[in-house]
């Protein structure tokens, strides 16, 4: 089986290196084809692994030694078990789709070959992240995906905003990574190793305080990668990247790495429910917080980005409450419909030549029906309407929240669901229905290439039906993840589900109705709450003012004032002083004989005086 593992892992790398050769050259479709093929290959082998894992085998291979110093001995080790294989399948599937899709989407871009290089590189790092059998390996992937996301966000580097967003993403992740790094160090000095199984085997016997701190530090890392508050700003700005990137990295895979980390370390986190509680609370908060920003935003992609944030919040709630398999399930389903949503948005952008303001669209349904359908499906799934994928995963999370007795979390998620329903259908309505604003603005939208649509189809299907795999999925992953028992009576559970669904559907209907009527009135936009949401709670501004600018000023001060004016000045001062002393002492050499003789006599007299007045030990 190992060969499948290595194929799955290295096929993307090969693809990346292959198209790397073409980066400096003209657009060349071969790169796209080869990479897609290799990604597909990787997907297939992941599937085979999935099957064989299902038949109860677990792969754990040590490829080669990496670092060894002192007591540390750190090999490249990979593990394929029920959890990682799910991730592998998801990642490779989505990435394959996205890659194929990009052949159309990036068709006219001069960075064509470069793009596919990055995408495959990203998949490779992502696979390392999920397949590694130790924390440092995970960290490699962690940083690797960070790099690729940096490169892809800044893909159109001529755009100031793009390169800026890239830096922001990288640096913010770095901040979180520091926390994670500290967690790793702590783990090492406790266990003397980084390997999951060894660590988790002994974690029980550890002073809880330390476990807590490990958990917190790791979670800081997770927050960064999954753009949880307060690190969330980079994700919205990351939308500067090409849309397929947003679909793959900033919706389906990378941003969920944080969740994956928590699930991976479930053995550790399950020991520290209080930390889990913090995670869940933060998740719930983000779920609402992000959704609220999506309510009023007019930027097609940012809306979806915020919804991603809020969905990540849901996942963290599940993970925090110990419902790891549910988190994973939602992670998977979300990957499907959210990437679908993004790719659909990509089609629209293409049609509207990269216009993003949804107020400038409308009535596109007639022009691009397939895209519209797919996006509708995705949205419904996102809102969690039966029988679409989102329904199952999301309602499980709500149930879990209720079950844990954290009613405020449940309520937050409940509201969040409503908001989700609203902004999704606000988007649908404004884009596909209503009057054709784009006509006035002189756009000439058109449906995209068929093969792109075909590529999207699998995602569409999965978003629809994935939910029905809930039970087998649960059985499958709970082989290694802790089971999660819903203890509340079944009736209550059903009641909740009904309640939520009813609420969601109600909101959807209301939204559709309202926007058929021509949407909300303008003066709404002057309400302070609206402005607050529109400006993302002014958080980016605050960062700008409180962190970025002061840091630059401080640095300049350190250089201009401290370094040059103080330290270096003192150094030169010493030299100067000596030189000036020299100038002074030079006067002694008056060249006049009498002075010379005088000096001699002065010497004699002075010493004679000493002979009389200075008497140590005589």
């Amino acid at each position: 089986m190992e060969k499948y593992l290595f194929v799955a892992l290295f096929a993307p790398l090969v693809g990346s290196l292959f198209s790397l050769l073409f980066t400096a050259k003209e657009k060349n479709t071969i790169t796209a084809i080869v990479t897609s093929a290799l990604l597909l290959l990787s997907f297939v082998s992941s599937l085979t692994l999935l099957v064989s894992i299902h038949d109860g085998l677990t792969l754990h291979v040590k490829m080669m030694d990496w670092i060894s110093a002192g007591n540390l001995n750190l090999p490249f080790g990979f593990i394929v078990d029920n959890v990682s294989v799910i991730m592998m399948v998801t990642v490779t599937l989505v990435s394959t789709v996205v890659n194929v899709y990009s052949m159309g989407y990036m068709g006219h871009d001069k960075g064509y070959n470069r793009f596919f290089t990055y995408i495959s590189a990203f998949v490779f790092s992502m696979l390392i992240l999920v397949m590694s059998d130790n924390f440092v390996g995970l960290f490699i992937g962690w940083e690797g995906v960070g790099l690729c996301s940096y490169l892809l966000i800044g893909f159109w580097y001529e755009k100031e905003s793009a390169s800026w967003a890239g830096n922001e993403a990288f640096i913010m992740n770095r901040v979180a990574d520091l926390g994670m790094l500290m967690g790793l160090f702590l783990i090492y000095w406790q266990f003397g190793t980084f390997e999951y199984d060894k660590v988790f085997a002994h974690v029980g016997s550890l002073n809880p305080a330390i476990v807590t701190s490990i958990g917190l530090l790791l979670f800081i890392g997770a927050m960064g990668k999954s753009a949880q508050f307060p690190f969330h700003t980079w994700l919205a700005d990351a939308m500067e990247g090409p849309t397929p990137v947003s679909a793959l990295i900033h919706a389906a895979t990378m941003v969920t790495a944080g969740v994956y980390l928590v699930i991976r370390a479930s053995a550790l986190f399950s020991l520290i429910p209080e930390v889990g509680h913090i995670i869940a609370t933060l998740g719930a908060f983000v779920a609402v917080f992000a959704a609220s920003m999506a309510l009023v935003n007019r930027d097609l992609k940012r809306i979806i980005a915020y919804s991603t944030l809020s969905q990540l919040g849901y996942m963290f709630v599940a993970a925090g409450l110990g419902a790891y398999w549910i988190a994973l399930f939602h992670l998977m389903t979300h990957a499907f419909f959210k990437s679908l949503l993004f790719l659909g948005a990509g089609n629209i952008m293409h049609a509207m030549d990269d216009e993003l303001d949804i107020k400038k669209m409308g009535g596109l349904f007639g022009i691009m029906p397939y895209t519209a359908t797919l996006m509708a499906v995705a949205s419904v799934a996102l809102c969690g309407v039966y029988p679409f994928a989102g329904f199952f995963s999301k309602d499980m999370i709500l149930a879990a929240a209720f079950n844990g007795g954290n009613f405020y979390i449940w309520f937050a998620l409940f509201i969040g669901a409503g908001m989700t329903a609203f902004y999704s259908f606000r988007l649908i309505m404004l884009v596909f229905f209503g009057d054709k604003v784009h006509k006035k603005l002189g756009f000439h939208p058109h449906e995209t290439y068929p093969f792109v649509l075909w590529a999207l189809l699998p995602l569409g299907i999965l978003s629809t039906v994935a939910g029905f795999f809930e039970k087998p999925f649960e059985e499958f992953v709970t082989e290694i993840l802790s089971k999660y028992e819903i203890t509340i009576p079944h009736a209550t559970e059903l009641g909740l589900i009904f309640l939520t669904s009813a609420f969601v559907i109600l909101v959807i209907v209301a939204t559709i109705y309202k926007y058929n009527k021509g949407g909300f009135s303008k003066q709404l936009e002057n309400m302070p709450i609206y402005l607050l949401l529109k400006n993302q709670y002014y958080i980016p501004k605050i960062y700008e003012e409180v962190i970025f600018k002061p840091y630059y000023r401080l640095s300049t001060f350190a250089w201009k004032q401290i370094d040059v004016k103080i330290i270096d000045f003192i150094v030169d001062l010493i030299a100067k002083t000596l030189y000036i002393l020299g100038q002074k002492s030079r006067k002694m050499q008056s060249g006049n004989l009498s002075d010379m003789l005088r000096w001699m006599v002065v010497g004699i007299v002075a010493l004679l005086a000493l002979a009389i007045f200075y008497r140590p030990g005589m």
């Binding site: 000596l578 030189y579 002393l581 020299g582 100038q583 002492s585 030079r586 002694m588 050499q589 060249g591 004989l593 002075d595 010379m596 003789l597 000096w599 001699m600 006599v601 002065v602 010497g603 004699i604 010493l607 004679l608 000493l610 002979a611 009389i612 200075y614 008497r615 140590p616 030990g617 005589m618």
Partner: protein, 495 residues
């Protein structure tokens, strides 16, 4: 009716006098020859002188100390032999530089060489006795000859230098005489050995007068060693006299002075007179520091080297303060290594000597003269740079080892702070040596014609440079043999 005094020749042990006798004879011989035949070329004189120096050297080696002679005034011990060796070698190296490419009046005169030989005799007497009279005579003979040699350079600056040197020398002589008088009055003897015995037996009382004697002696010797505040003559005299002579002056009179100083101060240091120690430390620190910071601002290489030699003297003074075998051998090791390097450096200046001063009339060897030298005369520049770095005590060149051993001896005697001051001083010192290198290597040339830098060179002089360079660069190998010989001799002479 006086009864006749009868002395057996054997008891005189005249062998101890032979080295000086040889040179004295040589000096007279030169004059006589000059009487008979005019138009003798300088090459003849030089070789003739060299010959006698060589004879002297062999005679010196022939002696086996420690022994006394000639009514016990001559003292042949390890130290005197070492010192005479240094004096003779540097004299030999010096006299060859007379064979320069450009003609100079003084080298045509027989007197020059006669005086030179007399001067050497003087120095030899100075180091080969512990009798104050003889020291005084030697000192004066040497000095008076030296004044004349300087004057013979026959330029205004030379005369000024000679007169300044002479006058201050006269005053110093007065100090020396006074010192001797005080000591004589205190102890009734003019032999350092006896003086020491008497003083020790009397516990150095009365303190004030003893110290007064010390002070006068210190100033008299300080003048020779150019210790602050009697150093003021050094830069002027060096500048005024010809480059090789300046180099010679920075080595030979000082070693003679050092030997006397060692002999004299040993009386007080061996019996731990705190006062003397403190004063010596004070003067040493003062000397090296003042000289260093003054050297920083010099515009003329020769003057800079003058100050540097003052600083080196201050360096060595610390070793005198320390006393003991290691320190004293450190002095000689240091001085032997310093001799080669310093003579080499001054010879380089001698080579670069050029009749018309293209760089302003005030100075003969201003720094600007050497800017960009590496472009037009790379070999010269490199050699010069090596000598400079060596004088700065840059490892692994010769002076570094002397410095190392000397500082080590200071540390071993427990004066760590003094050692720190010394290294800080050498850190300051590197600047002015480097200044010349910066000019030679980093600045742009002022002239395209590299010949002006080697105008005065000639094969013999090149040889000198070669020899000195060899001993400078390959010092790492010679240090051990030199050191063992030195230590052995110093031990044998009981210091």
């Amino acid at each position: 009716m006086l009864n006749p005094i009868s002395i057996k020749i054997a008891t005189l042990n005249l062998a101890t006098l032979t080295p000086m006798a040889i040179l004295a004879f040589g000096a007279l011989a030169i004059i006589c020859i000059d009487l008979f035949t005019k138009r003798l070329d300088k090459s003849f004189f030089v070789m003739f002188t060299l010959l006698f120096i060589f004879l002297d050297f062999t005679a010196l080696i022939g002696l086996n100390g420690p022994s006394r002679g000639f009514f016990g005034v001559m003292l042949v011990d390890g130290m005197s032999m070492l010192a005479q060796g240094i004096i003779l070698i540097s004299s030999a190296l010096f006299i060859i530089t007379a064979l320069s490419n450009k003609p100079f009046k003084e080298f045509k005169k027989a007197e020059y060489y006669a005086l030179f030989l007399f001067m050497i005799v003087g120095f030899q007497f100075m180091v080969a006795t512990d009798n104050l009279i003889l020291i005084f005579i030697g000192l004066e003979t040497a000095s008076l000859a030296l004044y004349t040699l300087i004057a013979l350079h026959n330029r205004n600056k030379a005369f000024e230098a000679a007169i300044k040197y002479f006058t201050m020398g006269a005053l110093a002589a007065g100090f020396f005489a006074m010192a001797s008088l005080i000591l004589y009055a205190l102890t009734g003897s003019i032999e350092l050995g006896v003086i020491s015995k008497v003083l020790v037996s009397r516990g150095f009382a009365p303190g004030a007068f003893t110290l007064a004697g010390v002070v006068f002696m210190l100033m008299a010797l300080g003048f020779k060693l150019s210790i602050v505040p009697t150093h003021t003559w050094t830069p002027d005299v060096y500048e005024g006299s010809s480059a090789p002579l300046a180099g010679y002056m920075s080595v030979v009179p000082k070693i003679a002075g050092l030997v006397v100083a060692i002999r004299f101060f040993d009386i007080f240091l061996s019996s731990q007179i705190q006062w003397v120690q403190d004063i010596l430390i004070f003067l040493a620190v003062l000397t090296m520091t003042l000289a260093n910071i003054t050297a920083l601002v010099q515009e003329d290489v020769k003057r800079m080297l003058a100050f540097s030699s003052i600083a080196h003297a201050g360096f060595v003074l610390t070793a005198i303060m320390v006393g003991g075998t290691q320190a004293n051998s450190a002095i000689f090791l240091y001085w032997i290594l310093f001799m080669f390097t310093n003579i080499g450096a001054f010879t380089m200046l001698w080579i670069a000597r050029h009749k018309k001063n293209l760089w302003g009339s005030r100075y003969q060897h201003p720094f600007t003269k050497f800017s960009g030298m590496v472009k037009v005369a790379p070999m010269m520049a490199t050699l010069f740079a090596i000598f400079m770095f060596t004088l700065a005590g840059m490892p692994p060149f010769s002076v570094f080892w002397g410095k190392l051993y000397l500082i080590s001896s200071v540390i071993n005697s427990g004066h760590v702070v003094l050692a720190v001051i010394m290294v800080i001083n050498s850190a300051i010192a590197i600047y002015y040596y480097m200044k010349l290198i910066v000019y030679m290597f980093l600045k742009d040339p002022i002239t395209e014609d590299g010949n002006i830098y080697i105008a005065n060179s000639s094969t013999p002089i090149k040889t000198i440079v070669g020899i000195t360079l060899f001993f400078t660069v390959a010092a790492s190998i010679f240090v051990q043999p030199i050191l063992s010989v030195v230590t052995e001799l110093i031990k044998s002479s009981g210091y």
